[in-house]
Symmetry: C2
Subunit: 387 residues, 2 copies
């Protein structure tokens, strides 16, 4: 298997854009990524596009050829991947393995979602398609409810971490305030987060991620090609893991840690030959603040039951010992579902290149992304190193 690097990145601003179409967002983010790479777009051999629910939300499926048409890439093969909120990371995995295997040398990986134009009920209906329709969605389950159950169980098994959950939101909003692409670039106070309206107890408003329009694209190539370009610091993919779990909540063996995430992390760490302590910073899937605390534990950044301590001591801040979600995360940068996993990688590459401006981390040589889908039924974890 060959070494693969990221040679180009591009994304739209995340937010609520009633006048922007999927076509339009693909054009912006795709063009930015190709231009950033410095390669001739005719050298792109395949497209992998992550999208969660363009059909139900926008009437648009078959987005692979939409990308190749919009970006004028010719007759190359395209695939859309879908795995709920991990749809973008699945596109990344497919593109990564195609280049690793020698099938292609240069591929384009993208993700896009347009959601904010639909009524809240329609968005909720679309979101619950990521759980089991027959056994869960038709019974009234929603994702805030599912993750609230996890939070309640976590409180029961360990301790009440409602305050630390609010701290995750405060950290996300602070970082987003320094990110020009963020949907909610404004700071919030701990008091405001704790006093917010309940959504599904113990989750309140600031415990929940955003509904977002946006797109993010990456150009992947062999590290050999990447080293020849000399335009940016080379960012190599040194580890990648992908695991799954049952789709239903009720059939899971545990809901205060996610077996898909622990397995994917193990694969990625083994491939990179690294330990959790070796990771400088991470973008993790904070669909809800409780998820972020569980992720910290699943990734081995803290022992089970102690994830909140890292948050409370300021460890996840930009100046902390393990900065998390320097981008603002799903909570405040935004959660354009099919693009989310790639937007996480966009941030890691930006940090590794030293291009993160006011939110630039002091030590950024090894970064990790963690992207979950559904009720933790899909997980992709990647580790990147700046060479």
């Amino acid at each position: 298997m060959r070494s693969v690097s990221i040679i180009g990145i591009g994304e739209t601003r995340m937010g609520r854009f009633p006048d922007r179409s999927i076509r339009d967002m693909i054009l912006e983010a795709g063009t930015k990524a190709i231009n950033d790479s410095g390669i001739d777009k005719k050298s792109i051999e395949a497209v992998y596009l992550g999208n969660f629910d363009g059909q139900q939300l926008c009437g648009q499926g078959h987005m692979g050829p939409l990308v190749s048409e919009v970006l004028d890439l010719g007759n190359i093969p395209t695939v859309r991947t879908e795995g709920a909120c991990a749809s973008g990371s699945l596109a990344f995995r497919m593109g990564l393995t195609a280049v690793m295997s020698g099938m292609y040398d240069i591929v384009l990986v993208g993700g896009v979602e347009k959601m904010t134009h639909r009524a809240t009920d329609d968005v909720t209906e679309a979101l619950v398609s990521a759980m089991d329709y027959e056994l869960e969605a038709t019974q009234g389950f929603t994702f805030p409810a599912n993750f609230a159950m996890m939070a309640n169980r976590y409180f029961y098994e360990y301790r009440n971490v409602k305050k630390e959950m609010a701290m995750c939101a405060v950290n996300a909003h602070r970082n987003a305030s320094l990110n020009p692409d963020a949907q909610m670039p404004k700071e919030i106070t701990l008091e405001k987060a704790l006093a917010a309206s309940p959504i599904a107890t113990p989750l309140s408003l600031f415990d929940c991620s955003l509904v977002t329009d946006g797109a993010a694209f990456l150009v992947l190539a062999t590290t050999e090609i990447a080293k020849k370009i000399k335009k940016h610091r080379v960012v190599e993919v040194i580890g990648s893991g992908h695991a799954g779990d049952n789709i239903t909540l009720f059939s899971k063996k545990a809901i205060t840690s996610f077996s898909a995430a622990k397995l994917a992390a193990k694969q990625a760490y083994n491939q990179a030959n690294l330990k959790p302590a070796d990771i400088d910073f991470a973008e993790v899937h904070d669909c809800f603040t409780i998820t972020q605390i569980i992720n910290i534990e699943d990734l081995g950044f803290a022992e089970p039951g102690y994830g909140a301590d890292l948050v409370a001591e300021g460890g996840i801040a930009l100046e902390g010992k393990k900065p998390i979600n320097s981008s603002g995360g799903l909570k405040a940068k935004g959660h354009p579902i099919g693009a989310t996993g790639l937007s996480q990688i966009f941030e890691v590459v930006t940090q590794l290149r030293g291009d993160a401006g006011q939110r630039q981390l002091k030590k950024a040589d090894i970064g990790l992304t963690h992207n979950l889908g559904g009720t933790a039924a899909t997980c992709v974890i990647n580790i990147f190193r700046g060479l």
Copy 2:
């Protein structure tokens, strides 16, 4: 790259099944494929699932983990692929390349669609998500209309082949009458086909494929593993091609032949080191009868403009020199969109094993599948050999 073979196949009957859920159809077809392979299901390392529009039609996305839960496959990685009517073939391509590359030794590939429970308008709305929503679907384009334009242009450039189109339907229905899995297992006469109600001139009722519920699954393994099983004739994948084209009809350079199909065919033939004349039989994407005639030309079975001659002389019949759609095709076996490409492979494997009963071909050593997506914007072509 390693040689890959198909070691297990399973499918549901195709048809209108108001009482069957997606979960239920996955269970039947997946279990059949695993049992047919003779392997322990715990040796399956990944799942690739093709589905076109489960979210819009049934409220169900994220079908990868649904498969692993229903079939009790544990924490393995899963991906859903979507590329309109070629969604199933994309799952096959992803699974194939994962085994070819050495990433996995044994994978499960599946496809499923449930459509017939929805009103015709809802199905049409779902189908047009495979074209460009902004520029085509909102303007009233439908697939019968798009392919009728192709037929009219074909008549203009070459000659009127309406009669030969009807002959394709007659052939499909005859073959379906010999296929216990077919949705419409009854013969029709040429007169009946020619006298049918118009849908989009020159396409009439029997020129159009079916709306179908169904699922098809395959187990893929290295040919080395396949040879050790000794349960069935080993069916090796000797060539595979995948190419694309613009999503919109208006931007295509030609609409009487499909550049995606010609490119994918070239890749598959080159990889197999074979010529069109070497192919014993084929399952081709007859979403409309005009498409079948164009496919015959794109695959090199006839010169451009002469595809209808092969049909008129009986060449595509079970006893003909190039039997096409021995299964009954999309026209009469059915078109369960996400499962269609895999249902085509199911037929080719069945023929290569000599298990096709009354529709068994005399010479079946090398078979081909041709699966199109959207307005010929995605095409996957595979060539199989019985060892």
